[in-house]
């Protein structure tokens, strides 16, 4: 990211970017802290202490097993972030090369194949495929990653291909070809750096979608398994208790919203920054 920012002024970053960054930073910080410390142990239950409303001892109250909701959220956020991040990684790892090769071989059979493959995956309702995958492999964080990751592949393939195509039509690519550089070298040396900003923006969007997807999967019980807390499962657990302990439903949901909102705002801010044409203040 740094080389992208090199020639630009950070003060051009929009207000929404900073708001988003603060949200994301806050959530990430909580998640990182939870590796070392949480206010309470999330694996030990104290049934007699259940359904406590927010108080000094438990900032966000306790759940139906008497666990501290703040601690649960901290660790749950960590799970969400990990799942979504790796899923985005999968998408980039497979999608980017596919898209780059398709763009380099534009108009060929391979290109067509990649595009048809994309269409095929897009034709499946995402959640249902995720359910199928977890039904085949069994529920769990790892399989949730695969299920979400698979849908990221065509997304990145499409973005990379589209962005790379505009680069391929530019004359500097011809100049590189005239300098004897091959497709792969050109893709690495010229294409990737020039489409990186689009990829970063897409990655933040997919990241936020991944968090939502992870929440949805664990809400239906297909995400990380207990005793690992996850925000989606906390919501699922709270559902029958919403009339007795609404705080159990409100806080985990709020955290999902903050995380996703933060990432989206950041992504938007970055997009405006990279592509001033879209900036609001212009014309």
């Amino acid at each position: 990211m740094m080389p992208l920012l090199k020639n630009k002024n950070l003060s051009n970053l929009s207000f929404s970017f900073w708001v988003g960054s603060i949200c994301v930073l806050f959530v990430f910080l909580l998640a990182i802290v939870s590796f070392f410390w949480t206010p309470y142990d999330v694996t030990s239950l104290e049934i007699s202490n259940r359904f406590k409303t927010p108080s000094y001892n438990h900032f966000l109250g306790t759940d139906h097993f008497g666990r501290d909701i703040l601690s649960m959220i901290m660790v749950g956020t960590q799970t969400s972030i990990a799942v979504a991040m790796v899923a985005v990684g999968i998408g980039i790892l497979f999608g980017l090369p596919l898209g780059l090769i398709a763009a380099a071989k534009r108009g060929t059979f391979f290109d067509d194949l990649v595009m048809r493959f994309n269409d095929l995956i897009f034709a499946f309702p995402a959640l249902i495929i995720a359910i199928l995958i977890t039904a085949v492999l069994g529920p769990g964080a790892f399989n949730a990653i695969i299920a979400i990751g698979i849908f990221n592949i065509p997304v990145f393939a499409r973005v990379a291909r589209g962005a790379a195509l505009t680069q391929w039509s530019k004359e500097y690519i011809l100049a590189a070809q005239v300098s004897g550089k091959g497709t792969i070298l050109i893709s690495i040396e010229h294409i990737i750096p020039n489409i990186l900003n689009l990829l970063i923006v897409q990655a933040t969007i997919q990241f936020s979608l991944g968090i939502l997807a992870e929440a949805a999967l664990s809400y239906v019980g297909l995400g990380a398994q207990p005793p690992i807390p996850s925000l989606g499962r906390m919501l699922a657990d709270s559902q029958t208790m919403i009339s007795i302990a609404p705080h159990m439903a409100i806080f985990p949901g709020l955290f999902i919203v903050i995380t996703v909102l933060g990432l989206n705002l950041m992504g938007d801010g970055l997009r405006d920054y990279f592509d001033p044409k879209l900036k609001v203040s212009n014309s």
Binding site: P3, N7, G107, T108, K170, E171, Y172, L174, A175, A176, Q177, V178, S179, G180, K181, E189, H190, P193, N194, S281, N282, S283
Partner: protein, 532 residues
Amino acid sequence: MNLIKVNNLNLSIHEKEILKGLSFEGKAGEILGIIGESGSGKSMTANSIIKLLPFGSSVTGEIILQNKNLLETSEEEMCTIRGRDIGFIFQEPMTALNPLKTIGEQVSEVIRIHKKINKFDALNSAATILDRVGLPQTDFPSTRYPFELSGGQRQRVVIAMAIAIKPKLIIADEPSTALDVTTQAKLIKLLKKLVIEDNICLIMITHDLSVIAEMADKIIIMRNGEIVERGKINILKNGLKNDYSKNLLKASNYKSKNLNKKISNQTLLKVDNISRHYSDNSFRFFGEKKVFKAVKNVSFSINYNENVGLVGESGCGKSTITRAILGLDPIINGKIILEGDEIKASNVSKNIRKKLQVVFQDPYGSFNPRHNVLKLISEPLYLEQSQISDYEKLNIVKELLERVGLNAEDHKKFIHEFSGGQRQRIAIARSLILKPKLIILDEAVSALDVSIRAQILDLLVELSESYGLSYLFISHDLSLVKSITSRVLVMKSGQIVESGNTKDIFNSPSHAYTKSLIASSPNLESSLRRLT
């Protein structure tokens, strides 16, 4: 009586001064030429008159159209003035029309905005107007969509919209720049005709002095938002006082120092009967594949130390030939031979590549924006078999930078820090680094302002002499070819229709197409000669 009078017009956008104290006026039946290079503020002048300015603009001064100060007119009233009293013609005919509406709808819309008239009648009068601008209903029914028309035809539609309710003032902002010369000539004729017939005041904005010289009655030369020269058109003939305008005139009338090099009679490049077809790759069930024959059986050769021009209008197949010679696209028959080695797209050896370089048209798109100049210029060194140390690389690049007229320390900078002309110098430096035998200059100076264009052409001439280079100089502009090539090839629809000694072709073209090309290119020299 002046139709329009602009008094001390100042414009700033976001606190930045764009226009400084402009004053000028125009009479009915008169063509006022505003000329200036990019960034001179000429387009903003036009936009100020119709008050369609970007967010954050502030204007002071007076713009008086028929006793009404437009700057004090409400937006509501401006809506009734735009289109009715002021017609506007934009530069980009390709995008100036709404793609989803027929040309008839778009022309009739102007009428319907300003006159109470039903749709049917409006469409009928639109048809008449389209006929008047040279789009007769028989050939161009008003149910056509813009995409069904060529650039020149679209520009006629834009003109039709501008003159639809016979406004007294028409502002044309670079109306012919994006068009081929033959089309441009016809459009200029049309505009002149309309000015006379409707007694219009036409403000013609352009960067091209030769266009202005051919049609304008009065002229304003702008630079950095200021008027540097003004007067009757005949001031172009020895009446210019300002240095800048003198230079501009000189550059527009560019003649290179006479080419002073000995052309070898040995063949460097031989293009032998090549063809290239494009077809859409998609699988079809019915009918044959649509095949577009971009290049049909083209043959020519270039000798050592020879500059050859290749001229043709857009879409004639020039770029296809460039790509074929560079080995980027396969050809379907024929051979391309460089110093005895055949260039095949599937496998171009490093050895061949080293002899062949290229400079492209677009000074912005020709460089990877994320690399510094050192890396950009030294990229072709990839073709050198032997390792070149970074130190050596740096020295070569520094030397080249100075050779093309830039500062040696510029190697650290990134491409966005340079102007268009400087970029083109960098592109030339890049093409020289391997000391190639042949450089293809694909519209290499077309995107540059005239004054800079002259400098680059000078540089190219000088380099070709000192390095013993051969050029294949590709251009749509005959006048450019004339000055730096000794032989010229004229191309039309994928074929070479005429070729021969540059002077001979200019003096006595034999093919009808060449004749029309020469006739329609605006010729500053002859225009000036006509002036009194």
